[in-house]
Symmetry: C2
Subunit: 396 residues, 2 copies
C-alpha cells in the first residue's frame, strides 16, 4: 500500500519538499517502511511548467475530503488560512507537519490538542532552526534531563548581518542591503531585524521544554538595529562577539524567563563561532551539562528536509506522540519579568566618564563589561544614570 500525502503551499519551502521527496524517494520510502507519493499540491497560483502539474489544486477541500491522504505538509506560512486548514486536517485524523513558526508560536497548544483528540500528529521540527534537528532531540534524547536553560542563535538574517559587521567592518545598513540582495532578508526586514522571528522560535522551544504555551507578546524582544560598528569593535577587543540571542531559563519561584536581545558571547564559547546564516541552539541540562545543535536555519532544501523528516515520522507513527506536546497557558504569571534577568553587562558610556579597570576607550566612548552581575532593572537604571549609548548582557 502506498501512503499519500499533500503539500500545502508551493513557495520556497513547499516546492523544496516536492523536489527533495522525488529526488530521494527511494531512500525516504525505505526509512518510512512503505511506498509513498504526493497526491496534491495546494497553491492558488498556476504552475503550468511543473513536472507535477497534475497534482496541483486550488481547492483545499480536495485534500481535506480525500481519505486516501493521511498526512499533510503545511508550508504556507502566516496564521491564516494555515490555522484553519491545519486544524481541519487534524480533526479528520490527518497528521500535519509544518515549517510555519508563526502558526506554532500563536496556535501550537490548540493544534497539539486537536492532534491528540483525533489520534494523529502535529509535528513542527522545521519551525525552529530550519534543517537543525532540535525539537525532536529536545523532547526525546534529553527526556531524562532537567533542562535549566536553552539559548540560541535562531535567526539567520541577523546573524549574517552581524557577521558582516564583525568580519568586514560593514555598517548595519549596508549589511542589511546585502542580505536583501542575496535573498537572506525580506523587502520588509522588520520581523528579522527587530527579533520577532527569533521570538517566535524561542516561544516554541519554551513551550516544548517547560510544558505551557508561551506567547510572543509575553517575551521581551529587542533586535539588532541599534547596534553600531563601534560596539562590535569594542566587544572584539574585550574578547567577545555580539549575537542576537534568544534564550529561556528557569528562574526563582518556578517561573521561566524567555527573552530575545543582542548579547555578548565570549570567544571561548562554541556559539561565538556560529557565523553567517547558520543557526545554533545550546541546551543546558543537569545530566548532559551542555549540548549544541548547529546548521542552516533557513533556505529551501534545509527547511524542506526537516518538513520531509516529519512527514516520514508521521507516516511511521499511527498514534499520537503525546510527549512532543504542551498545555495551554491560563495566564502569563509563570513568565518572569525581564527586570529580573541577572547578568554581567556591556556598557558604552561617554568619553570622560569614570570607568573600571580594563575599559576600552575609543572615539565613540568607553566600553567595558561589569565585574558583577546586575539585574536588567539595575542595568537599565545604571545606563540611564551614566547616559550610556549602549548596554547589553553577557551570556553565561
Amino acid at each position: 500500500m502506498s501512503v499519500k500525502f499533500a503539500v500545502l503551499g508551493h513557495g520556497v519551502v513547499g516546492s523544496g519538499v516536492v523536489e527533495l521527496f522525488y529526488k530521494n524517494k527511494k531512500s525516504i520510502e525505505k526509512r518510512a517502511g512503505t511506498e509513498m507519493d504526493i497526491k496534491y499540491i495546494l497553491d492558488l497560483r498556476d504552475f503550468p511548467d511543473s513536472p507535477y502539474k497534475d497534482k496541483f489544486t486550488k481547492d483545499f477541500n480536495d485534500i481535506l475530503n480525500d481519505d486516501e491522504v493521511t498526512s499533510v505538509a503545511e508550508c504556507m506560512g502566516g496564521v491564516e488560512p494555515a490555522f484553519t486548514f491545519v486544524k481541519s486536517c487534524l480533526e479528520k485524523g490527518k497528521s500535519v507537519s509544518t515549517s510555519n513558526k508563526e502558526l506554532v508560536a500563536e496556535k501550537g497548544d490548540i493544534l497539539l490538542r486537536a492532534a491528540k483528540e483525533h489520534n494523529c500528529n502535529f509535528f513542527f521540527e522545521a519551525s525552529v532552526g530550519g534543517a537543525i534537528p532540535i525539537i525532536r532531540p529536545l523532547h526525546k534524547c534529553l527526556a531524562a534531563n532537567d533542562i535549566e536553560k536553552v539559548a540560541g542563535i535562531l535567526n539567520g538574517t541577523t546573524n549574517f548581518i552581524l557577521t558582516k559587521m564583525y568580519n568586514e567592518n560593514m555598517p548595519f545598513s549596508e549589511a542589511l542591503s546585502l542580505a536583501q540582495k542575496l535573498g537572506y532578508a525580506e523587502k520588509d526586514p522588520t520581523a528579522d531585524i527587530e527579533g520577532h522571528d527569533a521570538c517566535r522560535k524561542i516561544c516554541i522551544i519554551s513551550s516544548l521544554v517547560f510544558g505551557k504555551h508561551v506567547y510572543p507578546k509575553d517575551v521581551y524582544t529587542k533586535g539588532i538595529s541599534q547596534i553600531e560598528l563601534c560596539d562590535v569593535a569594542a566587544a572584539d577587543v574585550l574578547g567577545y562577539t555580539i549575537k542576537l540571542l534568544a534564550s529561556v531559563r528557569k528562574t526563582a519561584g518556578g517561573k521561566i524567563l524567555p527573552a530575545v536581545m543582542p548579547t555578548l558571547l565570549p570567544y571561548e564559547s562554541i556559539m561565538s563561532g556560529v557565523n553567517d546564516v547558520f543557526n545554533a541552539v545550546l541546551v543546558y541540562g543537569d545530566g548532559i551539562d551542555q549540548a549544541m545543535f548547529y546548521g542552516r536555519g533557513a533556505g529551501k532544501l534545509p527547511t524542506a528536509s526537516a518538513v520531509m523528516g516529519d512527514v516520514i515520522e508521521a507516516v511511521k507513527h499511527k498514534v499520537t506522540v503525546f510527549s512532543q506536546s504542551w498545555d495551554s497557558s491560563e495566564d502569563n504569571s509563570f513568565i518572569d519579568s525581564i527586570d529580573n534577568l541577572s547578568a554581567r553587562w556591556y556598557f558604552r558610556v561617554p568619553l570622560g566618564t569614570a570607568s573600571p579597570e580594563g575599559s576600552y576607550e575609543h572615539e565613540n566612548g568607553i566600553s567595558y563589561i561589569t565585574e558583577n552581575s546586575l539585574t536588567f532593572k539595575e542595568a537599565s537604571e545604571k545606563a540611564a544614570a551614566l547616559n550610556a549609548a549602549a548596554f547589553m548582557p553577557v551570556f553565561e
Copy 2:
C-alpha cells in the same frame, strides 16, 4: 502499571543511570507516559552503602527470567559477557539500551536482528558522542537526506590532549599525564590515543548511515601519539587546528571510506572550536547542507542521560523501530581503500627542502599545505620521497 527495568553494571555509567533516574523520576515518568522503577542492578561487587542495595543482584538470570522486567540498560562495557547478556534479553523480548560502543561496533548487526525478530528494541544513542543526541537525529530527522559525509571529533581524551598542546604548548606526554590525573584517560590509554575508540564510533555511524555493518578491523586508524608541538604550532600559523577526526564519506562506485586520522581543520570551520573533552559530529546531506551536534562525549551523567533517554524510548515503543538498524555485511568489498582518500595535505619536510610559497619555516623543518588535492597513496609516496617527518590531510 509501573514499568520495571534493570541496569547491568554499576560502574561509572551504570551508577549514573541509577542516580539520574531517581533524581528526575517524576519528569522521566511524564515523558515516558507511565510510572517506572528500577527492579535490579547487576554487579558482581557489593555496594552495602548504596540506598538501593536491595536491588542488587549478582545473578543475571534473576533479570532474564523476571517477566516483569521489560527493559534493560547495559552499562558493563566490553564484548563479553555483555553480548551474551544483551542477546538473551532481546531474545526474551526485553528491549536493551546500551552505552557500550565496543559491543555495538562488533556485534550491532546481530543484536539489531535479534531485536527485530523478537519485536523489541536495541538502542545505542549513548555509544557515540555520550550525551550528544546523534544516533536518533541521524536516522530520523535526517531521514529525508542523502548523506554524503559524516565527520566527528569522537574521542574526548585525545581532544583534551590536543587542546592542551594548542593552548598551553604542553607536550603530548605531559598532556596525557594530566588527562590521566583528571580521570579523562585510562591507565592504559592505548584505545583512546591510538584512535581505536574513535574507530568504534565511526563504525557505528557508518553502519547506521550506509546500512551495512562496518567492522573496526576494516577502518584505517591512526592516533595522535606522533603529533609534535612543532606541528601544532605550524598548523596554527597556517590557520588550522589539528584534531583527531573520524570520518566516513561516499566514494566512487558506491563504496564508502571510513577513516580515523589526525586532520587539519581551518579556523573558519565550526568544528575547529570544539575543545577540551567535548565531542562533535558534523553531517553533510543533500538537503541540509551541514549540521553539527556538539556536547560532552563522555562522563558519568552525560552518558547516563543518553542511556536513560533510550530507556524512555524503549518504554514508549512497544514495537521495533526498524529504521534504526542495519544489515550484516557479507564482506568488506563496499569499503574503499584509504589509498583513494583525496585531500590537500600538510607536510613537514626537512629544512633546506625546496618548498612552495606560503610555507612556514621553523627550527624543526618547513611546514606547508599542498595547493592541490592528492590521494593518500600519492601523499604517502611524496612524504617518503621528501623524507617528511609528518603528513596529515586537511579537512574539506
